[in-house]
Symmetry: C2
Subunit: 301 residues, 2 copies
Amino acid sequence: VLEKIEALLGGSTLKPAPGERWFGDDAAVLQAPPEGHQVVICTDAAVAGVHCDLELVSPADLGWKAAIASISDLAAMGASPWCLVVTVAAPPALGVMEVMEGAIDAATVYACPIVGGDLTAAPVAMVSVAALGMVPSGRAVLRSGARAGDVLALTGELGGSAAGLEALRSQLDDHRVTLRHRRPVARVTEGAAALRSGAHAMIDISDGLSLDLHRMADASGVGFELDRVPVAPGASRAHALAGGEDYELLMATPDFEALCHSFADDGLELPLAVGRIVADPGRRLVEGAVDQPSGWCHDLS
Amino acid sequence: VLEKIEALLGGSTLKPAPGERWFGDDAAVLQAPPEGHQVVICTDAAVAGVHCDLELVSPADLGWKAAIASISDLAAMGASPWCLVVTVAAPPALGVMEVMEGAIDAATVYACPIVGGDLTAAPVAMVSVAALGMVPSGRAVLRSGARAGDVLALTGELGGSAAGLEALRSQLDDHRVTLRHRRPVARVTEGAAALRSGAHAMIDISDGLSLDLHRMADASGVGFELDRVPVAPGASRAHALAGGEDYELLMATPDFEALCHSFADDGLELPLAVGRIVADPGRRLVEGAVDQPSGWCHDLS
């Protein structure tokens, strides 16, 4: 099976640099990042029946979503994606290759090659993706950097993924809506632009705006006033506030204008200003009302 | 739950370097390897019921084994372990924390800190571990470097893990035997010593000596003559030849004496010479008889 994956990857435009070795050995060998860079690493998993309903999305969608979740975590640091290693566990009948193909699609779109992996039988389909990135030394944008007075900004409207899931459940075949659930995108260029503009803090909206905003506030020891919740077409306010899996970036910046300039320089859609950071860590307002963290939680604690 | 893991890790002697960030953010930030080094990356998974029977081994053993499988892949390149990211998926009742504790134990023993991870509910327990290592540039010991005339050497006797599994199944409580199955070790120092001595090729015995030896021969375009199969105490020849999960290293070296000196310099038990590489790729002999690849295979193709 690993040979088949290598053949799939052989068609990719992404190729090992001289001296590198991808796949085919016990481990992959990679050139180190250029001087002045740090390494960024994260991992994310998608389990059929927990993160994804394979009655509603394809095995390839499962692979795509797991890869995007990890690439988005790199984006949320302002890091450049570097490479992925992908583990696919699935019942033989499911089509391990199809799951892997979805991950390869994402890897290709984000120029973040899959350099190694593992395939195994399992009673239930699961994908685990570890992503490596690089970032200029000391410049990674953490969750914990938000300061009173920072503007809160988003890379886009929210709730599309949750609305897409609802549409799929209702057997509505509105491609524009369902695609946001099946094939979310990672805001890699936006994350790098935010880093460049001097953003103080950043997090990707994986579990819902409310929950992830509270996480940023907790990590930074601050509060927030969110003035508005930008809602994606076809989505509700509840989808936008607590739906999750949109993978837009939430940024706290001392200079919203600089952020906009940085986005414009890269030809990106301008970020949306949605509120501000305040000093009082107990102050947590969404459209004037006290907000309890809401969003997507694993039932594990 | 991630907080609990951070607390567990807080007790470790492994600490982030200045400017590093482990856990607690979207991704971990690490200092790049020293100049003149390449990055090595691999991933390995263990699934309950496929790789491990949780009636026989504990959830902590599952975590240990998954971590060791990845660390051993680093060892088989001659790489120094650097860090791990660990995904644990498990039914809430199983004890996700116990699985993670096994992985943390392995990380501590091999000074290879867990810097990030993901935890999720799943109908079946599964651990996926991605491991990063570093190796002097251009020096990684591949599977494909074996040349006619090389001596084949092993870091130790084989079959202990398979014998241990059999003992567990027979409810024999011979700790010395069962430990080899529950808590295999990775030959990290040995792998580095092999690299230093100029070994041509290396692979870890994860799926059985026969299968992994054929893999090395296939990758190198050569044949082999294996004169003997070193059998671990309590194990049979079949265990040793096709049992797998021993994680001893198989090395092909042009200079067995140099290999022994390198091992002795590090205070290691001397490697065992077991055969030689021959030019004819069709010649595959074990103790004089033609060998068909045998070992542990996933049923996935």
